[in-house]
Subunit: 192 residues, 4 copies
């Protein structure tokens, strides 16, 4: 007895998320009004609440929707791969409104369901890093014998730390320095 009743309008989800993203960019999280989202999406407020039980959940979905996993295929040069990955993550964080990242963290700290959702998002984004780090370690490129997970934390963690805590900029140079710190200087770095 599946598929009874009127099926959900497939367009709704997209329209709402799009409207929400636009509003979010324009007025920030606090300024994101459900009424306006509804109107902008050309949809009744009830329809939004049927899918997402609160503003917070809508924003979570919105973020997930933003996920555009660029599949990453590792090359031969782990150092180059790692630098590219960390730089990409930094770039992405930079282009995302900081409030969003912070609000997600705050919402996650309060609601375990959101927490899970948000963590899944980040996990997906950082997975490739773990793989490349493990590979680099097998190749003997890493200085210390520490669990790969810790190294990942030391590559990615500082990005969030700067973004959320110190407010310093996430430049490509910074990303490269992080990699250098973990892998040691490359030959070209040494020469310079």
């Amino acid at each position: 007895m599946v598929g009874r009743g009127r099926p959900r309008d497939a367009e709704v989800e997209g329209k709402v998320l799009e409207a929400a993203v636009a509003e979010l960019r324009q007025r920030g999280y606090e300024g994101l009004a459900m009424d306006r989202v509804a109107e902008r999406a050309g949809v009744a407020k009830t329809t939004i609440y049927r899918r997402w039980s609160s503003k917070a959940e809508l924003v979570v979905a919105l973020i997930t929707h933003l996920r555009d996993d660029v599949p990453f295929e590792p090359g031969d040069d782990s150092r180059r791969d790692l630098t590219a990955l960390v730089t990409a993550i930094a770039a992405r964080l930079t282009s995302t409104p900081t409030t969003l990242v912070a609000d997600l963290a705050a919402a996650a700290a309060r609601d375990p369901r959101i927490s899970e959702s948000v963590r899944t998002l980040w996990a997906a984004r950082h997975r490739a890093v773990t793989e490349v780090v493990a590979k680099a370690q097998q190749d003997g490129l890493v200085l210390t014998h520490v669990a790969p997970a810790v190294l990942v934390d030391q590559l990615v963690g500082p990005l969030y730390y700067r973004l959320l805590v110190t407010g310093e900029p996430l430049t490509p140079e910074y990303a490269r320095t992080l990699v250098t710190s973990v892998l040691g200087p490359s030959r070209s770095d040494q020469e310079s």
Copy 2:
């Protein structure tokens, strides 16, 4: 023309900040209601707004008020000092409600004044780390030649990263591993 009129009640500031801290811990930034702060402090809302022109400014003041710098004097053994420091920071973060940290970050991301205030707070807490790292580097304990600031980020950043992003626990072992990763294994570690 100084000192005319009724002087401000000296106790008010303290009472309000205390009440605000309590509310912030309980309900987070969004849930921090000025009405409740006023009631809890036994003070009129007007009195609060006379001192701080908005909720945001109140939180700024509140954060500054939180600063309770435990003075740290470095010893001979930089590795031991560093481990102690990172462990202490981790312990402090663990004992602080995660929502508080996240909400501060969120508030900072929204309001530059809060941002500055929050950063000053963290900077005070992390200053000692920078000093010890620099000393360790001078002593030749650090593997790579990277700016001390970056090393600090890689020691402290992962703590916030785990707390706010991945949700993994901040154990003393983790703190020691972070130090090991930066300084390389200690002699005792190597022996084991």
Copy 3:
């Protein structure tokens, strides 16, 4: 071109009306939600709207459905008959939730179709009174020469007045007093 398509389920009408009556008793007219009626009746909302085009019309039908005329055969003694009738009406009103009566009046005041339906209901219930009053008047039992309809109003009206307006109780004594006031005291009353 008769009997095309699936025939209407004969049970539906009864189930819906019954459910609607129950809801009406519990929650009153305003609180009568079509969704709840549908669910309680085990019927789709669409099915209800196919038969009755609005909440108002459903209530109309519902009222008609409530009609359960207890046939009354007059005896020799008009005074006794009248007393019995008025007492019976009072008892029935007492056992009916006051909200129901009031809501019916309110709905009637709003919608002429409901109005007609409700009036038919009351008329059926009060018809016997008119007959007996007319008979009593012919027998010379009534003090004044007033149209029977007015006397009926003065016998039945006070019941609704007390119920809806003053909130005073409808006791059998009250019913008898009403009859006494219209017919004059009976011989036994006079003796006492």
Copy 4:
């Protein structure tokens, strides 16, 4: 400790009630939207809810506000007085939207506080009738020896009965007939 805080704006109450009356006349009870009342009165919705906790209570207040007790001084002729009073009540009921009367009854049947309020309203309006009836009875004008309260019910009750139940019109003639039925025919009536 009187008169603390900002005093209530004296105009608000009047403006809101006026706006509410206008809305009520235009769109009926169900169509009376608090948002529109607020806008029309040039007042925030919160301000309305601070004074009246619900739509129902606002309407009650509205009715009470409508109270314009025409003080009645009885003359020598009780029959004339009574006729005038009953006619006045009938006229007033006729000029009031029926929905209002019915809705008040319905609201009263649900909420005891409203009930009390409404009854007070009616009681004030009907008080004079009781007095005049009692006087008429002392003067020997009443046919039967029944409690004055019952006679009042039989004079006023039929008006509400016709209005809410049978829907028949409340003409001055009807009012006079009611009085006649209770007092017996006047001399002039007999002559005619």
